[in-house]
């Protein structure tokens, strides 16, 4: 089974800085890493490869420094890594990103399955997976927890509104993978082997044969009009009384705020 996993480099939550003019993220290699949600997609790909054999190709769009996450994917178990990088891709929204990823995946060639994280910790839209499926005209299922291959079909499970859904879909398809449990940590040998065995393929706009009007700001259907930081106000409430009274008052307050039912 040939699997493509789409990953993204994100900036650590407490290190996020925005360009005051464009409102886009200022990236720094030191505090950037693979989007934690994408690790679940990679983990699922590794499990599927173990079970059904085949290959895993990791693909990301971003500036040169985002190749770091591809090395991480290779250590994790990917066999091939593709970086889609071109200054003209800068400031792409989710639509333009999905287009670039789609063009990259067309160039990668034949595949059975595309896996994505459910969302990223920075943009947090959760749109790229579904939009990529539309771009490639593939069926997609979001928030998948379990995948089985049955001939030309995938049988998948996902939790939705308190129900466990079992769905069948024809291959090729795209799934976003629900974050569940702890993700495996690669060993020192796996990390070293990634660097000695593999290299990163880097493709630009021309390599993808992509339409320049569909990428970057010109290809984006949305743009950030304004951005204002929200100051969160915290207050401290002292609950008086003996422990029993304090516990009762605390309980009432939690129920009042819908934190307990």
């Amino acid at each position: 089974m040939n699997i493509i996993v789409c990953i993204k480099q994100v900036v650590a939550g407490d290190r996020v800085k925005l360009d005051p003019r464009t409102y886009s993220l200022v990236r720094s290699a030191e505090f950037s890493y693979i989007n934690p949600f994408d690790l679940y997609a990679l983990d699922m790909a590794v499990q599927l490869k173990k079970e059904y054999s085949g290959s895993i190709t990791a693909v990301t769009m971003g500036p040169k420094i985002s190749e770091e996450v591809l090395w991480e994917a290779l250590a994790f178990g990917a066999d091939r890594a593709v970086l889609l990088s071109d200054p003209r891709f800068t400031a792409s929204d989710t639509l333009a990103t999905s287009y670039v990823l789609g063009m990259g995946i067309r160039k990668i060639g034949k595949f059975d399955l595309i896996l994505c994280g459910v969302r990223t910790t920075d943009g947090d839209t959760g749109q790229v997976g579904p939009q990529l499926a539309e771009e490639l005209d593939l069926p997609h299922i979001s928030g998948v927890e379990k995948v089985e291959r049955e001939k030309e079909l995938f049988r998948v499970e996902r939790i939705s509104d308190g129900f466990r859904e079992v769905l069948e879909v024809s291959a090729p398809a795209l799934f976003t993978i629900s974050p569940k449990g702890a993700v495996r940590i690669p060993s020192l040998i796996e990390i070293q082997d990634a660097f000695t065995k593999y290299s990163i393929e880097c493709w630009n706009l021309e390599d993808l044969n992509a339409d320049p009007t569909k990428v970057g700001t010109s290809g984006s259907g949305t743009w950030v009009e304004g951005l204002t930081p929200i100051a969160e106000e915290k207050s401290c409430v002292y609950i008086e009384g003996d422990p029993r009274q304090q516990a009762r008052i605390l309980l009432e307050k939690l129920i009042e705020k819908s934190l307990l039912s």
């Binding site: 702890a182 940590i185 060993s187 020192l188 040998i189 990390i191 070293q192």
Partner: protein
């Protein structure tokens, strides 16, 4: 000169940081208080190759370069110094000398289980009457056919309570210790082998530091590491390497003390503003940060010298001396910033303070490092 880490080194650091945060951070306080060796986490370190970091690939090791090795020890020690110590000793003064001085049979027999973490190593040099003065050892190994009969009383053995494979320094010639100084590999369970009492140390409490006693213990001649009389060189070569690991450990403790102090200084309000707004505290933090960075650079420099095959004694002694002092000083300043809470077990800074102190003592005290450094400086010619 390039002072940036490679992508690979950063990835290794991130991997270990993630592991330490997930597995060691939740138990570090508890295992220190209970003096408990956390087998449940130690078992997870083997599959990540943390027990065979620099061992050759053919024996199951990761064959890491020394900068990455330091990053791993620093990150583990930053969260739990006792486990940083366990790994540093296992990798640098047990696995390394076997890789370097062992013959093919010894490497094939001892390295795979050590590199996988199925067995844990220990280094036994110190005795009741021998420490910095290594030549004063009284342990003996007397030839008897194809064996040695070993009698030894080793103390302050790091990993002693859990070690399976131990490098023991003995004399094969009780009349002339200098001539007979030898290294011999001993396995736990050999008749006559006994683990002594657990030391009640002030820091590094999750590491089972014990004495090791051998009474008429028959050890195969095949377990002699190197040649008879070569033990002192083996011990010194291992300690040159080991000191880089202890320096990295000290950097990890110092970084933890700095992290805790920065956090506390932002949280604690005094005179209506956070501590961090007071210039007196800022100056302490500035000095702490500078010392930690300097210690890290000296440590990585020593690691670099090792990988370049340069003369290691001076750089590794300097790294250990400076990093050990830095850990103690920075942790002490951290206690000061925390005030009364710094003296309480409610905050981790007191653990860093206790743990840091050991790095100025084991694998060569500060004073031994100074002797090594002075000797290296004085033998050098003018540029």
């Amino acid at each position: 000169m390039d002072l940036t880490l490679s992508i690979q080194q950063k990835q290794i650091r991130r991997m270990v940081r993630q592991f330490a945060k997930a597995e060691l951070a939740p138990i570090a306080k508890e295992i220190d208080e209970e003096g408990r060796f956390p087998w449940e986490v130690v078992e997870k370190m083997g599959p990540l190759n943390l027990f065979g970091m620099q061992a050759p690939r053919q024996y199951g090791g990761a064959q890491l370069e020394s900068i990455s090795y330091c990053l791993v020890i620093e990150e583990i020690s930053r969260v739990c110094a006792s486990m940083g110590l366990m790994l540093a000793v296992h990798n640098s003064v047990v696995v390394y000398p076997i890789s370097q001085f062992g013959n093919d049979e010894q490497k094939a027999k001892f390295l795979p289980p050590l590199a996988s973490g199925d067995k844990i190593g220990a280094f036994c040099l110190t005795e009741p009457n021998a420490g910095s003065d290594a030549m004063a050892i009284e342990s003996t190994a007397i030839r008897d056919g194809d064996s040695y009969i070993v009698n030894a009383n080793k103390i302050f053995v790091t990993n002693g309570g859990v070690a399976d494979t131990l490098i023991l320094f003995v004399s094969v010639d009780p009349e002339d210790v200098k001539k007979g100084f030898s290294a011999i590999l001993v396995e736990r369970g050999t008749p006559g082998f006994e683990v002594g009492l657990l030391e009640n140390n002030c820091g590094m409490r999750a590491n089972p530091v014990t004495s090791i006693i051998l009474t008429d213990c028959r050890v195969p001649k095949a377990n002699l590491l190197g040649r008879e009389g070569e033990g002192f060189n083996i011990a010194m070569a291992a300690l040159d390497i080991g000191r880089i690991g202890i320096a990295a450990q000290a950097v990890g403790i110092a970084q933890a003390a700095l992290d805790a102090s920065l956090k506390y200084a932002k949280e604690r309000i005094q005179f209506r503003v956070p501590l961090a707004r007071h210039q007196a505290i800022q100056m302490m933090l500035a000095d702490m940060g500078t010392m930690v960075e300097a210690a890290r650079l000296l440590t990585l420099k020593a690691a670099h010298v090792r990988d370049q095959g340069g003369e290691l004694s001076g750089p590794s002694a300097m790294a250990k001396l400076f990093a050990g002092r830095t850990a103690s000083k920075v942790a002490s300043m951290g206690v000061q910033i925390h005030g009364g809470y710094g003296y309480s077990k409610d905050y981790p800074i007191e653990r860093y303070f206790r743990d840091a102190r050991a790095t100025e003592i084991y694998e060569g005290t500060n004073e031994i490092q100074q002797i090594v450094i002075a000797r290296e400086l004085l033998k050098g010619g003018e540029d």
